[in-house]
């Protein structure tokens, strides 16, 4: 886990440095004592230095993510990965396809994947639940005038 933490911190160093350096090109406004570019550069590099300091502390003082004797393995790793992909597809679908259409599909697929009961009766139950929920949500959103992105489908 220490190795992964150091890799994570290295990633943060790259991101913070990139943001800091990219901030340099921000135009200044009038006669500012501290410009947007200067502030951004300092903040980005400071963040990178802090992350580097943490890596150093991990190595020198043998700090790291503590276990306290627990087994620390990622359970449900596969499910998390699938849900992450589905979440991206769902977000994309909200913007490009239609909120209620993708909500129906996403909810139905999620219920089947996350549930440990996958018989036909349960799938039918999930279908009914998903349909009722999506229709109900459509109704509630119409009453409260909740805005959604304009899309080809509902």
């Amino acid at each position: 886990m220490k190795k992964y933490e150091n890799i994570f911190l290295l990633g943060l160093i790259c991101i913070c440095t990139a943001i800091g350096l990219a901030s340099r090109s921000a135009p200044s406004f009038g006669h500012e004592t501290i410009t947007a570019g200067q502030y951004g550069l300092v903040m980005g590099l400071l963040a990178a230095v802090v992350c580097a300091g943490k890596i150093a502390a991990n190595i020198i003082f043998k700090e790291g993510t503590y276990n306290y004797g627990e087994k620390s393995e990622i359970k449900g790793q596969k499910l998390i990965a699938i849900q992450a992909v589905m979440m991206f597809l769902y977000a994309w679908g909200i913007i490009k396809v239609g909120y209620f259409t993708v909500t129906f599909v996403y909810l139905m697929v999620s219920l089947v994947i996350l549930s440990d009961s996958k018989g036909w009766k349960n799938i039918l139950k999930y279908f009914v639940f998903t349909t009722c929920f999506t229709v109900g949500l459509n109704f509630v959103f119409k009453i409260f005038n909740v805005f959604l992105p304009k899309t080809p489908l509902i």
């Binding site: 990219a22 004592t33 502030y39 943490k54 043998k62 790291g64 503590y66 769902y90 909810l107």
Partner: protein, 501 residues
Amino acid sequence: MTAMLMSLQALFMGPSLLYMMLGVILGLIFGAVPGLTATLAVVVLVPLTYSLDPTTGIAMLIGTYVGGVSGGLVSAIMLNMPGTPASVATTFEGYPLAQQGKAGKALGTAVISSFVGTFLGWVCLVFLSPLLGKVALAFGPFEYTAALLFGFTAVVTLAGDSVFKGIVSAMLGLTLCLIGRDINSGAARATFDIDALSNGFAFIPALIGLLVISEVFSQIKTIGERYILPKQKLDHILMTAQEFKESITNFIRSSLIGVGIGILPGIGGSFANFVCYDQAKKASKNPESFGKGNLQGIVASETGNNATIGGALIPLVALGIPGDTVTAALIGGLMIKGITPGPMFIKEYPEVFYTILNSLLLSGLFMMLFMLLIGIRVFPVVLRLQKHYLLPLVLIMSLAGAYNVNFSVNDIWTTVAMGMLGFILDRMRYPKTPIVITLLLGRGFESQLRRAMAFSGGSILPLFTRPYALLFILLSLMTLIPLIFRAYRKSKSIKVDTQGY
């Protein structure tokens, strides 16, 4: 007094009281659902008040405001997902208490604290509006900079076991605030020519991602456990006399902090719950018990966040300036009625002013009664769905809520990205509270600091010579020095047992 009583009479006659109660209930529902927020509740209901008379419309919006801010406690305690930004700190103690089978106690304490905060905020609004309005006017860039620096000290307290990790998390938040438009000039900065980054990361969608979506993923890890919380009896709801007595100091302190933060436009009432929790922990004789189900943490968070309602209304009624985004929406509701808030608001529209006062008090009272009698029994049951139902529903509502903050599709992607970041931070055991704090305050801090430096020609001396600024600097030092000293002593005595992978 006569005008106040006449306004009260007007509220009780006609449909105003009913609409106010409806507003409270709708606000509670919006607040209780992770992803939906008090701001969204008020914004959504403003158009519905077009056809209502001013008294009824305002009563409904104030009721929604109170309900929305209070409602977040339910999901914060039952699901470890704050229903609103104002309830983030409630998760720190509420969820551990619920895990110990004391959800009833946590919910009841939170509801009572919410009412106390609303009431004390109302007291400040009634008696101190003109005076506190003047204080708000006295705040310039140096005062704001110092106040925000004080706010950043909460990062250290709320960092959990590792202060260094908390600082890393906070610096990441400050760096992410750089992306988007320069707050002073509007020019693009660090957008890498990507359109989606042109407006940076909006706070509420980022918060939803970091705290709600990441929690959804964390719960997927334990999908084998069918429920987030085991079934439990919701008993011992009311605070005992002893518990109430022990909380009095906390009530007063948190209310004053909440009002103080609420009256400062731009800092954000969402921040009050962090500061109040932070101060309660520092003032506690057993700070180690925080994070493990200490009732005083809930008292602090919920009292403070509700007190900001009264605080945020003070600049609105005294100066016509919104104290936060919700009061900005309220101003929209008033302007629809042809009422323009300004420095002469109380003199020109006394009936509206007293309607706001009376609605605030009555909403708080109704919220408490509704929650203690009905809400605490019903909401947790509704939220206690099996995980494979609840988690997708939370994600669905969260993304809809995120879009409705600014009606921007970029906010949906912000929520998704921050959700992944939050999950990674959880895996690496990095605290998320510091990054939430710095995302909330980072842009404001930069803006105020740069303005302050521009006014003073680069000198930081006014930070130490202007009275309110000096006050906050001293408060920051007073809170940081003991913490650093305590952390140093702790690190000398701690034995680290690390295991590599």
